[in-house]
Symmetry: C2
Subunit: 200 residues, 2 copies
Amino acid sequence: MNTREKILATALRLFNEQGIDVITIRHIAKEMGISHSNIQYYFPNADEIIATIYVNHIEELNELPIFMADETHKPAALKNSIIAVLEHIYQYRFIYIHFVVIARRMPELKKVYAQRFKIRRTQFLQLFEDYRKQGIVRADIPAPVWENLIRSLYIIGDFWISANELTTGLKGKKAVTYYAGLLQDLFYPYLTKKGQQWVA
Amino acid sequence: MNTREKILATALRLFNEQGIDVITIRHIAKEMGISHSNIQYYFPNADEIIATIYVNHIEELNELPIFMADETHKPAALKNSIIAVLEHIYQYRFIYIHFVVIARRMPELKKVYAQRFKIRRTQFLQLFEDYRKQGIVRADIPAPVWENLIRSLYIIGDFWISANELTTGLKGKKAVTYYAGLLQDLFYPYLTKKGQQWVA
DNA sequence: TTTTTGTTAGTACATTTGTACTAAAATAAC
DNA sequence: GTTATTTTAGTACAAATGTACTAACAAAAA
C-alpha cells in the first residue's frame, strides 16, 4: 500500500470514528506518523480526501451485482443482496452521517448520487413488476405507492447509519443485520400469501 | 423580544440557512449588529444555543395534541397531525441535518430524544391496535412488522429533511406536503378495503 | 555520474475561533 | 440622586487550521 492509499485508509478510519468535523489533515498526518505537508502533496485539502473516498464508495456500490427477480433467485438472495449493500455503507458510514454537509461543500457529488438513484429507481420498479408477475407481491397497489416505497427505502438506506447511532447503537454486523431486517419488513405488507410463503 | 430571544431566533435562522459547521457566535453577533461578548453573556458558547433550541423544539413537539384513533376522528385529522409535526421539524430543520454531530457533542440530548421515542412508540402501537379493532388496518400483520414500521416511520420522520436537500430540494410547505404524503403511503398496504375507503 | 523528477519534512504566516478580562453604558433598587 | 445590578462593547490572547514556501532526501533518467 503506497502513501496515497495509506492516507485514504487512515482518513476513512478516523472519519468513521470521530467525524469529518473534528478530523483535519494534521490529525491524519499525526496518526500516520508523517508530516502534514506530505498529505498535502497528494491532497490539497481534506475535502479532496472526502471526495475521493466518496467516489470510491459509490463505484464499489455500482460494481455490486444487480439483484434480478428471475425464477432462479431465492428470497435469501434478495436479503443477501440487501446485506451486501448495507455492509458497504457501514464501511463508509461517515459519509452517511455527514451526507448533507458533504453535499453542500461539494455540490458536484450530488450529481453522482442523483445518477445512482435514477438507475436504482428503474431497477426497483422492474423488480416489483417481476414480483407482481410471479404473484409474489400484490397487484392492487397503485403506482405512486410503489414510487413512494422506493423513496422510503432510499431514505432508510441512506440514514439507518445515523438512526442507529442516535438510538439502538448497534455495531458492525449486528447493525447491518438489524437494518436489513427492517428494510425487508417494509416489503411484508406488499406480499401476497404466495409471497409470504416464498420469503418464509 | 428581548436580546436572548433575538439571539435564539437569529441563530435558528442562520443554522437553518447555512449549518452549524459554518455559523459561529461571531457570525450571529454580526448578523444582529451586536458584539459577540453580548451573546456570550447569555450563552457561554454556540453549543449552549444549539442545546436550548433543541430542547425548545422537542418541548413544542411534545405539546402538540396527540392523535388518537377514536371514531370521531376523520382520516384527514391523521394527515393534519402528520403535517403539523413535519412543519415543526421543518422550522428546526438544522437539528435534523446535524443530528448525529449534535448528539455526539452533547450526549445528554440523546436522552431527551430517546424519551420521546419511547412515549411515541407506545402511542403508535396503541393507534395501530385501535385501527385494527375498527377494521381499518389488517389483522394478519405480525407484531414485529408493526414494531419495524414504527422504526421506519421514525427514520423517515427524522431524515426526510436531509433526503429532501440531497434529492428533491423542495422548499417549505411543498416539502412538508410531499413527505407527509410519503409517510401516509407507507400505511397504504396495511389498510383493509374498509381502511382504503376510509382514507380515500 | 550527473541531472532531473518525485516525495517528504520543516517552517512560517494570516485567519478564525473560543475564551477571558476589563470597562462603559443602561437599567433597577435604594 | 446615589448606589447596585444588569447588560453591552471592546480588547487581548492562545490554539488550531489552511495554505504557501523552501529545503532535504530519494528515486529514476540521462
